[in-house]
Each structure stands twice: as C-alpha cells, then as structure tokens.
Amino acid sequence: MVQRYGDVAGGAEAHARALVNHLAPHLAIEVATTTARDYWTWENAYTAGLTWVDGVPVRRFPIERGRARDFRLREHRAFAAGHSLADELAFVDAQGPVAPDLRDHLLAHGRDFDHVLFFTYIYWPTLTGLPLVPERAVLVPTAHDEPAIGLGVYRPVFHAPRAIAYNTEEERRMVHRRFNNERVPGEIVGVGVDALAGEAMRFRQRHALAGPLFLYVGRIVESKGCRELFERWARWQDGSPQKATLVLIGHREMTIPERPDIVHLGTVAEQEKWDALAACTALLVPSVLESLSLVTLEAWAASRPIVCDASSPVVASMARRAGAGLAHRDAAEFAAICELLMERREIGEGLGRAGAAFVARTCTWPSVVEKYLDLFAEVRARNA
C-alpha cells in the first residue's frame, strides 16, 4: 500500500519500489496504489486497474479528491494551538489523496494477504486503510519530526499495526517519544543501496565542468532546505578566493539563483547520478526534515562524505554514527567545512571510506530483505 507507485519522484515511493522488487523473489507480492503521479495535486494520471511494474502486479485505484484548494488554510488551522478534532479531520481530507475504492479493496481483500505493508504514515490511504487490517499490518512510517505527526488522528496509525519497520534509530526514538507506542514491535530495517560504479571524468566532460564540485541531489524545493543552501553557498563563494561549482540534480520546484557557479542539470539517468557522485568533493544535504536520506547512503556507497545541517536530527545523527560527514550550524561553518574538504582531500577521503564501510555494514539488500522477512514471520506467527 503506497500513495503513488511506478515512475514517480519521491524518496518514500522510490524506497517502496526498490523494496518491493527485492522482496518479490521471496513472496507473492502485489501493490495497491492510486492513479496519481504528482504528490501535490494527486491528479489522476495513470489508468485505473491492474498493470505490471517491474513484473509485479500493481492495482491502481482512482482518486476521488486530490489536494483541496484550501489545503494551506486547513493545514494552518490543524497545526494551530488549541485546534479541534474536526480541524484535524479536515486537514487529512484536504491533504488527500482520498481514494475510497482503494480502501474498499482493503476491506474486501486485505485479509486475503498474510501481510499488508503500508508506506508513509501521513496520507489518507494509510490513515484510513491500516485500521482495517491491523493484525497483519506492517507500517513503514518514513516519519520525521514535523507538525503533522503531532496530530491526534495519527495515534491509531502508530498503535494499531502488528509491527513497525523503522528506517533509522533516530526515527524510532522520535516515534516512541511522541506516541509511547513501545509495545508495538519495531525493527530498524533500513534500506538497501543499489550502487553503480561511477566515472567522474565522463561526468565532467559531458557537462564541461572543471574544478571542485559540490553536489545536491533531490527535489529542489524550500522544504528540503534549498533556500538556506543557496544563501550559504552565495555568502561563501562571494567572499572567498576558493572557487567551486554547485551541481544540482533533481526536479526544480523553486527559483534557482542565476550564478555561474550554480549548475542545474534537472533529473538525470541513474548512471549519471553515480558519475556525479564520483566527481564531487562532497554531497550537500541541507534538509532538516528527513526520516532517512537515501541519497546520503548513495554518497557513502560512492565513498563520498556529506555536508549536512547540524539541526537535522536524523541526517546529522547518522553522519555522526557513520563518521562520514560534517555538520554546520551556520553560514560561516558551512564555508569553513567546504574549504577544508577542498584543501585537505585526505579528510574527505577518510570520511568517504567510513561512509562506504557503514553502508556495507547496514545497507545491503540481503540484510534488509532478511529483516523484513523476519518481521513478516513474526506477524504470521501471531496470526497463526
């Protein structure tokens, strides 16, 4: 169960698809999702009905209501202090995607399956669907510490499932603190990384890039911290003799400053992303709201360090655990870290090696798949 599936942008959705494909050899697996491609409008883009993605059957159900036109107002009211239960319910409905046929499918057929894996706690399909099959539900919350998770309506989502598959220790700690749901079995399953060998020279030649490169991969949007990234980048480059280029890969959803030292490549093929990782001095991860940064793990798999915001609870903590990144608290520290990595290449290489070791230790698909299969076996035992 996932709100969107297939060739769609989005970390949780990419994670869902990669996991499904790695689980498919071990289980008879089906996907139930909506016809949406876009996470904001939830506009019906795919045809409803049965289709196949990577050889896996996918049932798509139509969306009756996408994101409401007054969503921002509903969100504002639900997040305000002293808001009512009715405000929360209106927010969930306005957020979408409201797909009653998907819910009816779960009501009628959910119990035909041994396990129902729900991706992402926040959207209507999980909120209204998980309570229909709690005894066989495994939740992959992809939760981060954001206002929505403080709403009362999400309590059943974190108390009802048979098990919860957390991506990181940090996520589990945050969920336990908020919900006191320690009694729900929770495993840290993580994600696997499918690394490709990257070629730095190929990337530099194709885009005519010389000198030190810093890389950003992901949606280019304010909620991912891109505004702060651009400000810190400009302050550093405008005041320093050390010249470098910021390479942006991903879909643009905000204005990108027009500067010779910022290059936007749009979305690129998988191989090109790995070439870019091989070419960069470090990956910049400015987002402070992240349950798990998949691209961070990919940078580490490519033996590259990351530069992250110290106020990001998950990414900064993971970087500390892995010993594979440096965190900045302000623009001055950002500049100092970037210059350090340019001047002392051995520091970046050491961090990158630690990152590669961390990924090899915790993020291989065989170990992730094994953790999921263990969770499923526990669920089956309880329902036997």
Binding site: L85, A86, P131, L132, G152, R155, P156, A160
Partner: protein, 392 residues
C-alpha cells in the same frame, strides 16, 4: 496509587437501565473510593432513540462529576433498513462507518472533549465497544485507554469501525473468559493485556422465602425465571421445553414463576405464573424460595441473575448453547446446562427430585460468588485494569 480516571460510556445515571451502563456506574462508584473519577457521557436516557433527557454540562451523580455532551443525532430513522443493507447486501467501507453513526449516539462534542482533555487523565476507561463514543474515542488516546468491551457474538462486531478497536487500548477488561476467547478468535489481539473483570455484588439484603410463597399463594416446587420475558431472551424456547417436560407422564409437580416485564404472550397453563416486575426485596425472596433458577438466553454478556441466585444458594439451569452462562456454571459448579428439550426435562427432574445434589450445587455457587464476586474482589480487578492502563 491514586489516579485520575475518566469513565466514558454512552449513557449514565441512576435512572439508566442497561447491563453495560449499570456495570460502568458500579465501576465508577467503586473506583471513586480510591481514585479521582469523572464520567463523560451523553444527555441520553433511552438507548434506542438517544433522545436528550439530561441537561448538557457537568453535574454530580453519587458525588462523581459527570460531563454530559449533546447528542447531535440519535438513531437514524432508516437505521433498521440501513443495517440490513450493511449486514446482508453488497456495500462499501463508508457504509460500515456510517452504520456506527446511524446507530447513535452521535456526539461530536464528547469526542472533542476527549481530544482536548483526554491527555489530562491517567486512564480513560471506555464501556461498550459498539457505540460511537467508544469506537471513535479509543483511537484518540490509545496510549491511555482501557476498553470494557462487553462484546458478544453478533454481526456488527465484524464491521470496519471495530477492526482495529480491540488492538488499540493499553488493556482490555472482559466480563468473562468466553468474551475474551471470542475477541481473541475474531481479532487476534492476544498481545493486548487483559483482566477478567466480572462484576461485584452487594451482600444480599434481608429476604424471606416463606413470605414470598405466602404473599403469592405458591406451594410445591418452584422454578424461577427472572428478567425480561421476551423472545429475544429465548422465553419461547423455555415455554416449549417447559410444556414438554411437564406434560410427560410422571413428571414432578412444579410451577414456573416468571418475574419481569412481559413482552410476549404467556402460555395459559396452571403451572406457569407471570408476576410482572417485582421489587428488589421480593426478587430476593423469590430467588431464595425457588428450587432452581432457569436462564434460557442465548446471548448474554454476563448472567448477573445467576450470581444473584447463587448468593442465596439456589442452583441454576442454563442453555448450553450460550457459552457465557454455560461457562459461568462450569466455573462455579453452581448448576447444570441443557441442550435439547429432553435434556431440559432430565436436568430439571434431577434438580427437583435429588434434593441433596441440588443443595450441593447451590452451595458451590454460593461459595464461588462469595469468593469471586464480592465488591472487594471486584475492586482488586478494577485496580489491576487501571494499573495496566495508567499512563506512565
């Protein structure tokens, strides 16, 4: 440890008739002796219409603060037809949600109160799984909720709003082991800790069996039925079995005495006597005067009348098809169970003719209630439930 406890129940008050509601009130009063107890409920008195009867606002009942919230809509005029649709025709998930709302009482202000104030209590104890205040209230604060489900095997138990309800609370108080077995079988929620609450009874007040016989002009062996006289309580089956028993050759002399509101036609026979509703005092006299109490009901969450019979040492005869009352009789050893009309006749003959066995059964029943159903024993089980639930 003294806790802040909120009891949530669909109706509440001295005038309110209903097993679950009386159980909730008894529990609230007992808990209030050791904890800070409040009640959240609706303005309804009647369980069918949920028409407003009490005033909105906070009053004290038995010294306990009771917060009453308006019923925005009672039972929908089309409830019966809609129920048929949801239970027996193709329908969708939204219909199953709507069933709970149409049943009433739909009291959104009560839910807003739980949303707003629930976090201020150590434990929220919810009575009766089927009504909206519980089905939609428990999910608002699962981490501090206790559910006293009073469930029995009925079709609505399988509807969408209840699929996760039994997985959410911190702990569940069941009335009987049979209720627990039903819920575990249906929902596989064995992981939720539970307490078999049962109930607690005041010691029996003074009563006079001879006075009951004299006042009602009764002689010879008496078989008592106590409760609403209706087909819903399987009294039609009781009358058929009684006639077959009495009309056979050599049957022992006996009179079937019915105490309770009559909601069906009573067979006209010399050996069947309907007294209508009787006072609590006369009820005890009737129980003590009876040679046996008979309870034919197929659906019962907890046979309180069995416990009352045992308090005065009277053995009971129950329908084996009802797992709850049959389980009570098996555990207490205070009577017999019957399946077929032939078994009814044979067991009743035994109770009326083998006086020593009948006396022993009654004595075992009395010993059991004196051990398990005192207010003190009930208090201990309630505190166990509160301890499991109380937020820490």
């Amino acid at each position: 440890m003294r806790r802040r406890v909120l009891v949530v129940v669909q109706r509440y008050g001295e005038e309110v008739v209903g097993g679950s509601e009386q159980h909730a009130r008894l529990a609230a009063r007992r808990l209030a002796e050791r904890h800070d107890v409040e009640v959240a409920t609706t303005t309804a008195l009647d369980y069918w219409t949920w028409a407003p009867h009490f005033a909105v606002g906070t009053t004290a009942v038995d010294g306990i603060p009771v917060h009453r919230f308006a019923v925005a809509s009672g039972r929908a005029p089309d409830f019966k037809a809609f129920e048929r649709h949801v239970l027996f025709e193709p329908h969708d998930a939204a219909d199953e949600d709507a069933w709970t709302t149409k049943q009433g009482p739909h009291a959104p202000e009560l839910l807003e109160f739980l949303h707003r104030e629930g976090g201020g209590y150590d434990a929220l104890l919810f009575w009766t799984y089927i009504y909206e205040p519980v089905a939609r209230g428990v999910p608002l604060a699962p981490e501090r909720s206790g559910l006293v489900s009073t469930a029995h095997d009925e079709l609505p138990l399988r509807l969408a709003p209840y699929r996760s309800l039994f997985h959410l609370p911190r702990a569940i108080g069941y009335l009987t082991p049979e209720e627990r077995a039903l819920v575990h079988r249906e929902f596989r929620n064995e992981e939720v800790p539970d307490v078999i609450l049962g109930t607690g009874l005041e010691p029996p007040r003074a009563h006079d069996a001879a006075e009951f016989r004299r006042a009602r002009g009764l002689a010879g062996p008496l078989v008592l039925y106590l409760g609403q006289v209706s087909e819903g309580k399987a009294c039609d089956e009781l009358f058929a079995a009684w006639a077959a028993f009495r009309d056979r050759h050599g049957a022992p002399a006996a009179t079937l005495v019915l105490c309770g509101t009559v909601r069906m036609e009573i067979p006209v026979r010399d050996d069947v006597l309907a007294l209508g509703r009787v006072s609590d005092e006369e009820k005890l006299g009737a129980l003590a005067a009876a040679d046996a109490l008979v309870l034919p009901s197929r659906l019962e969450s907890l046979g309180i009348v069995l416990l009352e019979a045992w308090q005065v040492g009277t053995p009971v005869l129950v329908a084996a098809v009802n797992p709850v009352t049959a389980g009570q009789v098996r555990r207490a050893g205070g009577g017999l169970a019957y399946g077929t009309p032939d078994e009814f006749a044979a067991r009743l003959t035994a109770l009326l003719t083998d006086r020593e066995t009948a006396r022993q059964l009654g004595a075992r029943g009395r010993a059991w209630v004196e051990r398990e159903c005192t207010l003190g024993a009930f208090d201990r089980r309630l505190d166990e439930l509160v301890d499991l639930v109380a937020f820490h």
